[in-house]
């Protein structure tokens, strides 16, 4: 299906989500911090990136900015996936360059539909 980079520091969530995505047939790459996320994005050039925001080393906002700043990776859609669900969090993520935003706990079908939408858009 699609190559998805999951940038997530929480092990359980990383495991859960990667497995659920894999079960849906996606190829999932894992990065445990922002910096790794950026480098993985460079290295793997995934079709889509799921970006946690509260990340060690380099946070999700910065990582997204870097990804969006780099010509090689700037076209990759990024979905912010965060437990920061307060008002304004969405804007912050979008301002950092994220293409969409979803909150934890993940409502999986909704996430899948967002992934699908962005992938379709990227295909165009």
């Amino acid at each position: 299906m699609a190559k998805i980079l999951l940038v997530e520091d929480n092990e359980m969530n990383r495991d859960m989500l990667s497995r659920r995505l894999a079960r849906k047939g996606h190829e999932v790459f894992i990065a445990v911090d922002g910096a790794e996320g950026v480098s993985m994005a460079m290295a793997k050039v995934p079709d889509l990136i799921l970006m946690d925001m509260s990340l060690p080393v380099l946070d999700g906002w910065q990582a997204t900015q870097q990804i969006k700043a780099a010509p090689e990776t700037k076209s990759i859609p990024v979905i912010a996936l965060t437990a920061h669900a307060m008002a304004g969090d969405r804007e912050k993520c979008l301002a950092a360059g994220c293409d969409d935003y979803d909150t934890k706990p993940v409502e999986f079908p909704r996430l899948l539909s967002k992934i699908e939408t962005l992938l379709k858009e990227a295909m165009k």
């Binding site: 659920r20 804007e91 706990p105």
Partner: protein
């Protein structure tokens, strides 16, 4: 003077000035002449008589002698006689008895023109008398007296000559005429003596009296003059005998005379008195002694001349001139002339009086003008005295009316010596009601002059009596004594005088005349000025009524001034007291920072012991007082802008160096030209308040910080709970899927329970977050118009599975004509979902209904009016949403608590039905926020009905702080607000203008602090931030923004044109100039670049400059300026041309007009920067300033184009701003819906 008279006077030895200057002198002269003639005549007469006697004897001898002519002694005697006859100074004719001429002497020959031979034997009368006319009339009766004895001046002729000759009678005639040989008439006086003792010979002696006749004529003229003159004249001889006088003299001295002649007795008296040196009745005179002294002087020195004014007791004034009359050098007598100058003197005196009065007034008024208030009383007293004295009054006074004008108080009085005894008799206060007649006159501003009080009508007299405090009887009703006085004085001067004195003494105590002058100030009667006289018709009031009125006005003004000054002083004292005792400091300072005045409160506030000490030590407010050295300048600047400042707060140093806070209210006082004279204002020590404030601020900050902490806590809690929930829900769902695939049904239901519990926990978190936001007042409304039908549909669709789970049926009542409502759709939907899910939860196998309707009931009562008051309801149209169920219902007790947070109807309910217990609380809050309400009706076991009432159009409540919003259109939620933070006003202005044209609402901040404040207030959609700013720089602002959870979300665009601060730099230029170009600034700027280019300049002879400017005139000017500065100038009139020039040669500097045809300045800069990126050429931009609206429009057009075509930095800036704002706006509404649906 007539030459004839002159000649006569010369003969008389009276050679005087010609013509004589005065009538008196003439008079005198005439007197002298008269005397002289009289004297001469009498001398002549004597001479004639002597002569005649002599002649007669001689002739007798002579006529006798021929009888013995041979007798030699006789002959010699005859000769001798003959000789003496011949030498006689008179004509002599010897006649025979028939009157024929025997002989004439040479003098007679000479006078008559006949020779002796021609006359001899001829009748003399035939020759000399026959043609005479009217001669007969002169022949009068024989004189009673012998002429020889007559000493009298009047000499009458005796017999007619012919008669005398005929009758041989002697005769004489003093005025006759003889016919001369040449036919002329010779005026003569003659003496005819017939022959003595029977002798045949008669003698006629005659004199030529031509001169004498002339003299007589003159004399008669003089006499007529003497009589007709208005001067009284008395001529006396040197022995004091009266020679002459006229009628006037007699009248003047009151001497009785009958028919112009003095009576014998009077004459005798007069003669006597003159002889004794007292010719005048001195008792008539006021100062007889002085006159007497003059008379004595005259007696002592007969040559003395005296002039004196003689004042008579009856008021008559005579001007006396006494001159000696002289013949040659010899004094022969004296002439006293008197002229009545009474009238003249009166007029003179009156004139003099008026002059003096005018001078007095002038002096007094000058005096009053310059006099200080303290001297005014004295001045008024002096005025009263001076005027009264000058005008002959005995008392003067001023009454001032009381405020209510019912009484008048005597405030000033002057009393003359004669009245001092009765001074106390005058009342000090007068009741105006007692003097209606007087008051009325005064009210009409009339001066009241009463020459004789006694003659007033009785009521008026009574008033005056009251007024001056005198008994009515004391006035003289008529004045018999006066008449007596006058008569007596005239008749018996000495007696009259003594009687007069007696009368005076008797009258002394009584005021008999007065004058009252109203004191009028500003057309108001303020009082009156009065003068009293003890004598009737005292004073000279009538002559000076106008002047007295003036005095009245002057005094009124003075009194008014005194009153005004007293009032002023009183109010000054009052204000001074306020000034001194005020709690607030009061000051007057100069714009330069010096105190003009200050009160002691100010000194106290500033820590000085006294005001004086402060004024002495605190000499430079600018530097000494304020802690912030720029504070005073700010103070002055604010005053300059608005003329006043209020609550201007500053920290200041007290004297001991400690600091306090003060608040100043001040205004600037300007002169008529508008330039500032000084500032005045008050100072309050607000240290306490400041401390309270800062304590409050701290408390507020603490509260805010606590609130922030709470927000942060909630955010963290949310985050921290969501993370494990994510795993729980995720894994359970995943396992559920796997279990389903594996077919292990048991585990599926267990996993479902885990998942459900997780989701419940999640909804709990969401609700808690919602309610905390609401409680914190941070829940915002996002108002939009939406279709109600769609809303209901979507809510029903979401709720339907829940409803159906419990075996319930759902009925929807939604009419088609509901159309749209304007509200926060997400919240309305959330409320409806909440109600539906509640209904579903508490109803088993029942019915649930949802219905909507539009209500136009104006009387609809809002239950929560107070809480919803912040919402403005534009109309009374409401939408009513109703959710009803057939469920378990609620007790009354439960109903009361149903909307409270964390409360379900029963604690057990939670266990049974789940739920957070926050749903209804949140729903109620949402309804209230939108200006609506939620109501519930229920009874236990009989189901529940919730009714939500919402206005169909909700208006956004005004946020109190958001005052800057006026420029944004009210119903345009798509307008974004951008806060532009830049300390450079030009940059700020340009960014603002550009972005405004993009449809954005712009707020500007000039400093970091202001930026933070505005950001908090306005919550802008984006902030552009200049990095380099004085004070708090961009980085500091940024970190502050990011540290504040409320502001952290606001995107910030940094304008990091490091090292370059102006628009020009922003555009990639090195510097910029504004039009019209200031030559000096241009030169200075260019010099800077030339210095930078020094290395180049030393190699090449000149520096190259390229001017890019389309306007020929500007180009020419710039070229001139630059060439004189030693630049080598190349020109380009467009961007393209400039690029072409740049290809040919590289200049050291480019001077660029931004507004160019084809390719504009911005584009050109972009091009230049692109092609010369390695080694940039400095570019100085010239921009227009003070543009006309048309130019402004044009420039805006350019700027627009620049943005579209793209000079890198500017373009980037704008693009960034626009896109960010747009995105933000787009997503705000979107996100709200999504966020809330998350729960």
């Amino acid at each position: 003077m007539h030459p004839h008279l002159q000649r006569q006077l010369e003969q008389l030895g009276l050679v005087g000035e010609s013509p004589l200057p005065t009538a008196e002198q003439w008079q005198l002269l005439l007197e002298q002449v008269s005397c002289s003639y009289d004297r001469v005549q009498s001398q002549q007469k004597l001479q004639q008589e002597d002569c005649f006697n002599l002649e007669t004897v001689a002739l007798k001898d002579l006529t006798d002698s021929p009888q013995s002519p041979q007798d030699s002694p006789t002959a010699s005697e005859f000769d001798r006689l003959r000789a003496s006859v011949n030498s006689l100074g008179a004509g002599l004719c010897i006649l025979d008895a028939k009157g024929c001429v025997i002989s004439v002497n040479p003098e007679a020959e000479h006078l008559l023109g006949w020779r002796e031979s021609e006359l001899a034997g001829v009748s003399l009368l035939e020759r000399i008398g026959k043609q005479k006319k009217g001669n007969k009339s002169q022949v009068l009766t024989a004189p009673q007296q012998s002429p020889s004895k007559t000493e009298d001046a009047t000499i009458a002729p005796t017999l007619d000559l012919p008669e005398a000759i005929a009758s041989s009678q002697p005769c004489n005639n003093w005025d006759d005429e003889f016919l001369c040989r040449d036919g002329k008439m010779l005026p003569v006086s003659y003496f005819f003596h017939p022959a003595v003792e029977g002798s045949e010979i008669s003698v006629l002696v005659f004199f030529d009296i031509f001169d004498i006749r002339e003299h007589k004529q003159s004399l008669s003229i003089l006499q007529a003059v003497l009589k007709s003159t208005d001067a009284g004249i008395l001529a006396v001889d040197k022995n004091g005998n009266i020679c002459n006088y006229n009628q006037k003299f007699l009248e003047m001295w009151g001497l009785s005379a009958s028919q112009g002649k003095l009576s014998r007795s009077t004459l005798d008296t007069l003669k006597n008195t003159i002889k004794t040196g007292f010719p005048f009745d001195r008792e008539q005179l006021k100062y007889p002694q002085r006159f007497l002294q003059n008379v004595i002087k005259v007696l002592a020195d007969s040559d003395i001349q005296i002039s004196e004014l003689l004042e008579f007791k009856n008021g008559k004034i005579l001007e006396l001139n006494s001159l000696p009359s002289k013949v040659g050098a010899k004094t022969v007598g004296r002439v006293w002339s008197f002229r009545d100058v009474t009238e003249v003197k009166k007029i003179e005196e009156s004139l003099q009086y008026r002059i003096e009065f005018a001078q007095l007034i002038a002096r007094l008024s000058t005096h009053f003008i310059s006099q200080p208030l303290s001297e005014i009383d004295k001045g008024i007293a002096q005025t009263l005295e001076a005027i009264a004295t000058l005008s002959g009054f005995d008392r003067s006074y001023i009454y001032l009316l009381s405020e209510d004008k019912t009484r008048a108080d005597k405030t000033y009085e002057w009393c003359g010596e004669s009245i001092s005894a009765v001074k106390d008799s005058t009342e000090k206060q007068i009741d105006i009601a007692q003097i209606p007649w007087l008051a009325e006159k005064l009210d009409r501003a009339e001066c009241l002059y009463i020459p004789e009080i006694g003659e007033l009508p009785p009521p008026a007299k009574a008033e005056i009596a009251y007024f001056i405090g005198q008994k009515l009887a004391e006035f003289q009703t008529d004045s018999p004594s006066k008449t007596v006085n006058q008569t007596a004085t005239a008749l018996i001067p000495s007696m009259g005088a003594s009687l007069n004195n007696l009368e005076l003494k008797k009258q002394l105590k009584n005021i008999q005349s007065l004058i009252i002058i109203p004191l009028i100030c500003s057309k108001n009667l303020v009082g009156f000025l009065g003068f009293d006289g003890l004598k009737q018709t005292a004073g000279r009031a009538t002559e000076i009524s106008t002047q007295l009125k003036m005095v009245g006005e002057m005094l009124a003004n003075v009194l008014e001034r005194k009153r005004a000054e007293a009032a002023l002083r009183q109010s000054e004292t009052k204000y001074r007291s306020i000034f001194e005792n005020a709690v607030e400091g009061i000051f007057q300072t100069t714009p330069t920072g010096h105190y003009l005045s200050a009160n002691s409160a100010l000194a106290r506030i500033y820590g000085y012991e006294s005001c004086t000490q402060m004024l002495a030590e605190l000499t430079d407010i600018n530097r000494q007082l304020y802690v912030n050295p720029k504070q005073r300048a700010e103070f002055v600047a604010q005053l300059g802008r608005s003329r006043q400042v209020s609550k201007f707060e500053s920290q200041i140093y007290r004297r001991d160096g400690s600091t306090i806070w003060i608040s100043e209210n001040a205004r600037s006082i300007c002169d008529e030209n508008g330039s500032v004279l000084y500032y005045e204002g008050t100072v309050q020590d607000i240290t306490d308040r400041k401390q309270t404030e800062s304590a409050m601020q701290l408390a507020l900050e603490a509260a805010e910080s606590a609130n922030r902490a709470k927000s942060t806590f909630l955010a963290n809690m949310s985050h921290e709970l969501r993370t494990p929930l994510n795993a729980i829900i995720g894994y359970s769902e995943m396992l559920q899927e796997e279990a389903e695939e594996l077919g292990s049904c048991e585990s599926v239901s267990d996993l479902e329970k885990i998942c459900s519990a997780g989701k419940h926990l999640l909804s709990l978190i969401d609700d808690i977050l919602d309610i905390s936001k609401i409680e914190a007042g941070r829940m915002d409304l996002y108002l939009e118009s939406f279709d109600i039908h769609n809303l209901i549909e979507s809510a029903v669709a979401t709720a339907r599975p829940l409803v159906e789970k419990n075996g319930n049926t759902l009925e929807v009542y939604c009419p088609d004509n509901l159309h749209t409502m304007h509200a926060d759709m997400t919240k309305v939907r959330q409320v409806l979902l909440n109600l539906l899910s509640n209904a579903a939860k508490f109803t088993q196998n029942g019915r649930i209904a949802i219905g909507v309707e539009r209500i136009k009931n104006e009387q609809l009562k809002m239950k929560n009016q107070e809480e919803s008051s912040q919402i403005l309801i534009s109309n009374s149209e409401f939408l009513s949403f109703r959710v009803a169920d057939t469920g378990i219902g609620m007790t009354q007790e439960q109903l009361e608590r149903v909307f409270q947070p964390f409360t379900q109807a029963d604690a057990s309910t939670t266990r049974e039905y789940g739920g957070t217990g926050l749903g209804l609380a949140i729903s109620q809050r949402f309804c209230q926020m939108m200006g609506g309400s939620i109501e519930v009706s229920s009874s236990l076991g009989a189901g529940t009905t919730f009714t939500v009432l919402l206005p169909s159009a909700i208006k956004q409540p005004e946020i109190p702080n958001k005052v800057h919003d006026s420029t944004s259109p009210p119903d345009a939620p798509a307008v974004g607000t951008v806060l532009v933070v830049d300390d450079d006003p030009i940059s700020r202005d340009l960014i603002q203008r550009t972005l405004s044209r993009q449809g954005l609402h712009i707020e500007v901040a000039g400093s970091g602090e202001q930026a933070l404040r505005l950001a908090k207030q306005l919550r802008p959609d984006a902030i552009t931030l200049d990095v380099i700013m004085p004070g708090m720089d961009g980085w500091a602002v940024l970190s502050a923004l990011k540290a504040d959870p409320d502001l952290a979300e606001i995107p910030v665009i940094l304008l990091s044109f490091v090292g370059n601060k102006s628009l020009g730099f922003a555009l990639g230029a090195s510097d910029y100039l504004t039009k019209p170009v200031d030559g000096k600034r241009l030169a200075a700027l260019l010099n800077k670049y030339r210095r930078d280019q020094d290395g180049v300049a030393s190699n090449n002879l000149t520096c190259q400059i390229l001017i890019v400017e389309d306007d020929v005139a500007t180009r020419e000017i710039l070229r001139c300026v630059l060439e004189t500065q030693g630049w080598a100038v190349t020109e380009a009139d467009s961007g393209r041309a400039a690029l072409d020039r740049l290809k040919v040669a590289r200049p050291h500097l480019i001077l660029l007009d931004l507004m160019l045809p084809e390719m504009d300045g911005f584009e050109l800069i972009g091009e230049i920067r692109k092609s010369h990126s390695g080694d940039p050429i400095p570019i100085v931009v010239i921009t227009g300033k003070n543009l006309t609206p048309a130019e402004s429009q044009q420039l805006n057009g350019y700027v627009d184009r620049v943005l579209q075509k793209g000079v890198y930095s500017c373009d980037t800036l704008l693009r960034d701003v626009r896109s960010i704002v747009n995105e933000r706006l787009d997503r705000r509404y979107d996100s709200k819906g999504k966020e809330n649906t998350n729960g």
